[in-house]
Symmetry: C2
Subunit: 141 residues, 2 copies
DNA sequence: AGTAATAGTTTCCATAACGATACTTAATTC
DNA sequence: GAATTAAGTATCGTTATGGAAACTATTACT
């Protein structure tokens, strides 16, 4: 049942006002949603962060297995960016063969807790989306 | 202060277990995160949904002004997809010139409430990300 | 007949993103 | 000296994405 109360709408409005209220809509000042979220809500980044939440420590090749379909190039790019932004830490052990461990920082965990709200919603509402999509297609003029 | 308690980590782990526990990591079955989120966590979609939360009703050109930088093509694409997936409704008034109104559905609102968790976090932690990024760059080998 | 306004669509082009594959480094084992 | 292993990097070619600008439909007004 997808019932949204007026109260929930008001709460959302209040949050939005806080976010948007002080932004001049005409001039393009720095926008964290465009910047921060662009990386952190990227499809691959989300999966990386979730798996690092699930498995506290992961190495490159393991991560690549879990985040199936990702290429070396993209995985290493994303890892570097996520490290750069502070979500995860990279620890290198100069053994042979080399061992490198990735794990979420506290900052990363902080993000994860919010991200989970969204991915939980997505997993539990995925079927609704599929249903909606089908219905829309069927009604297609 | 970015302190994450063990309790919070445990809570996250529990949620993740629910999400990932039953998924066979080897075979690529349907994954709502890859599918649902791919659209709904897209940079433009996020902005569209947020503005439709802020302004309950918006028309094409207004939306285009708020979501500055978006092109006609992409805006109309995203609107169609978001409508198709059930996040927003499109109402056409056959006046001249034509009038079309977009607004969030209850389903869209339901998503918005979760999305806000994330965007709020992003707005309040944007400066940390910038700081981290700078530090990382400075330490660059 | 020309203009105006809204909500797009269409077309074409540029760039960015991605994927596959080969390669690198370094110490150890065979 | 060849093979092995981890963690990438490098390169190249393809695909996807996005932007700019022109165009369409519709009716009223001048």
């Amino acid at each position: 049942m997808e019932t949204i109360t007026e109260n929930q709408k008001l709460k959302a409005a209040r949050k939005l006002k806080k976010m948007f209220g002080h932004i001049d809509l005409k001039t393009a000042t720095y926008c964290p949603i465009r910047d921060v979220m662009a990386l952190a809500s990227d499809k691959w980044s989300i999966l990386i962060i979730l798996y690092l939440g699930y498995f506290p420590v992961l190495r490159f090749n393991k991560l690549k297995k879990y985040v199936y379909g990702i290429s070396n190039k993209v995985l290493s790019e994303r890892l570097k960016m996520l490290e750069s932004d502070g979500y995860l830490s990279r620890t290198m052990y100069p053994e042979v063969p080399i061992r490198v461990e990735y794990q979420l920082t506290d900052f990363g965990y902080s993000y994860l807790t919010k991200l989970l709200e969204l991915t939980e919603w997505a997993t539990s509402h995925g079927d609704t989306v599929i249903k909606n999509r089908r219905k829309f297609k069927a009604n297609g003029t």
